[in-house]
C-alpha cells in the first residue's frame, strides 16, 4: 500500500508517536501538521504499521507505580535448556505474570535464563503468589531469585527512532 509519506516523514512520525499522541480532538491531524503531511496519510501509515506488527497495541499506557502497583518483582529462573520453551509457555499463560522472556545466561556472572515480571500493590502477596505459582508448576526446586524494585529512576516510552537522520529499521 502506498501511503505517500516520505521515509523522512515516516521517521519523524515515529519519533512523535514515541512521545504519545497529542491530547487534542484530531491528534493525527496535529501530527500531520508537524511533519507537513495530511491526516489521511498519517492514519494510513498508522494502519499499515499496525498491520505489519510494528505495534504491540495502541491505547492508554499506564504508569503502574503511580496507580499504586509499587511491588514490582522480577522473578528469574535457571531453567535447563531442554525445558525452557515448555516452562516459559506455562508460566507465560499465568494471569499473575505480565511479561515472560527468555534471555541469555552470562556465565559465570549470571546463570538465569527465564525472566518473569509480577506486579502488585504489596510485597507480601506478590511473594506468596510467586511461591504458589512455582509450586503449582513444580518449579520450586529450580534455582531462582526474586528481585524487587526499590526505586524507579526513569520510566517512559521506548525511543527506537534514532535522533539523527538514519533510515528507519523495521527488523
Amino acid at each position: 500500500m502506498k501511503t505517500g509519506l516520505t521515509p523522512r516523514q515516516a521517521l519523524a512520525l515515529r519519533r512523535h508517536l514515541e512521545g504519545g499522541l497529542p491530547l487534542v480532538s484530531r491528534p493525527y491531524q496535529a501530527l500531520a501538521d508537524r511533519i507537513d503531511a495530511d491526516e489521511d496519510q498519517v492514519l494510513g501509515q498508522m494502519r499499515q504499521w499496525h498491520a505489519q506488527g510494528l505495534f504491540r497495541r495502541v491505547g492508554l499506557v499506564l504508569n503502574h507505580r503511580a496507580l499504586g502497583f509499587t511491588a514490582n518483582a522480577m522473578l528469574v529462573l535457571d531453567v535447563p535448556d531442554a525445558l525452557i520453551d515448555e516452562v516459559g509457555q506455562r508460566l507465560g499463560r499465568s494471569p499473575d505474570i505480565n511479561l515472560c522472556y527468555q534471555r541469555p545466561r552470562r556465565l559465570p556472572q549470571w546463570r538465569y535464563n527465564l525472566f518473569c515480571m509480577v506486579h502488585g500493590r504489596q510485597r507480601d502477596p506478590v511473594e506468596r503468589r510467586i511461591k504458589a505459582l512455582l509450586e503449582e508448576h513444580l518449579l520450586s526446586d529450580l534455582p531462582h531469585q526474586l528481585l524487587f524494585s526499590t526505586h524507579a529512576f526513569k520510566q517512559c516510552g521506548a525511543r527506537f527512532a534514532a535522533a539523527s537522520t538514519g533510515a528507519p529499521h523495521h527488523g
Binding site: 504519545g20 499522541l21 491530547l23 480532538s25 484530531r26 491528534p27 493525527y28 491531524q29 492514519l43 498508522m46 506488527g53 505495534f55 504491540r56 497495541r57 495502541v58 491505547g59 492508554l60 499506557v61 499506564l62 504508569n63 503511580a66 496507580l67 525452557i84 520453551d85 507465560g92 499463560r93 494471569p95 505480565n98 511479561l99 515472560c100 522472556y101 527468555q102 534471555r103 541469555p104 552470562r106 556472572q109 549470571w110 525472566f115 531469585q145 528481585l147 524487587f148 524494585s149 526499590t150 524507579a152 529512576f153 526513569k154 520510566q155 517512559c156 516510552g157 521506548a158 525511543r159 527506537f160 527512532a161 534514532a162 535522533a163 538514519g166 528507519p168 529499521h169 523495521h170 527488523g171
Partner: protein
C-alpha cells in the same frame, strides 16, 4: 461526571486497543456513553496525576528496532550517580534499582544492535562497571497492558 469512574472505564476499555480514526477521543466517548470533552478532561487529569504515561502505540521491540535489558552491580554509595548517568540516555526508557548484587536494571532501545552496543561501551568507559547485556531471545508473554484487578 465522576472522573474516577470514567478513568477506570477508560483504563479497562482502552489499554489494549483504541480506535484508529480521525477523532479517537470522540469515538471512545461514544463507546462509554459520554462526550468527548469528558474523555479528554479525564485523560488530561490522569496525565497530570502521573497515572497515564502516554496514549498511543507501544512498539514491538523486535520489529521496531533493537533492545536489551542491562544491569550493573554498583557500589551502594555510587548508585544514584550511576543511575543518573544511565537515565541521561534517551535510549534508556526504564531504569530501576533492584534488591540484588546487580542492583541497577535498565532497558535500552535503539534503531539497531550496534547502536545499543555503542551505548553500553560508553557506559562501561564512563562508570568503570561492566554491564550485563541480556537481549530477549524468546517472548513467551509480552506486556499487553496492566491487569488492574477488582479493587481501585
Amino acid at each position: 461526571m465522576d472522573l474516577d469512574l470514567l478513568s477506570r472505564q477508560l483504563m479497562d476499555r482502552f489499554q489494549h486497543g483504541m480506535p484508529l480514526c480521525p477523532e479517537p477521543f470522540k469515538e471512545m466517548a461514544s463507546v462509554l456513553g459520554c462526550d468527548e470533552a469528558h474523555v479528554m478532561a479525564c485523560l488530561h487529569a490522569m496525565d497530570q496525576a502521573g497515572t497515564l504515561s502516554r496514549i498511543g502505540p507501544v512498539f514491538e521491540h523486535s520489529r521496531a528496532g533493537a533492545s536489551t535489558l542491562a544491569a550493573f552491580a554498583v557500589p551502594a554509595e555510587r548508585l544514584h550517580q550511576v543511575a543518573e548517568r544511565v537515565s541521561q540516555y534517551p535510549e534508556v526508557n526504564h531504569n530501576y534499582a533492584r534488591e540484588h548484587f546487580y542492583n541497577l536494571w535498565f532497558v535500552l532501545t535503539g534503531p539497531d544492535r550496534p547502536h545499543i552496543e555503542r551505548v553500553l561501551d560508553e557506559l562501561e568507559k564512563d562508570t568503570g562497571l561492566t554491564p550485563l547485556d541480556l537481549p530477549m531471545l524468546t517472548a513467551y508473554r509480552i506486556d499487553l497492558g496492566f491487569p488492574l484487578g477488582e479493587t481501585p
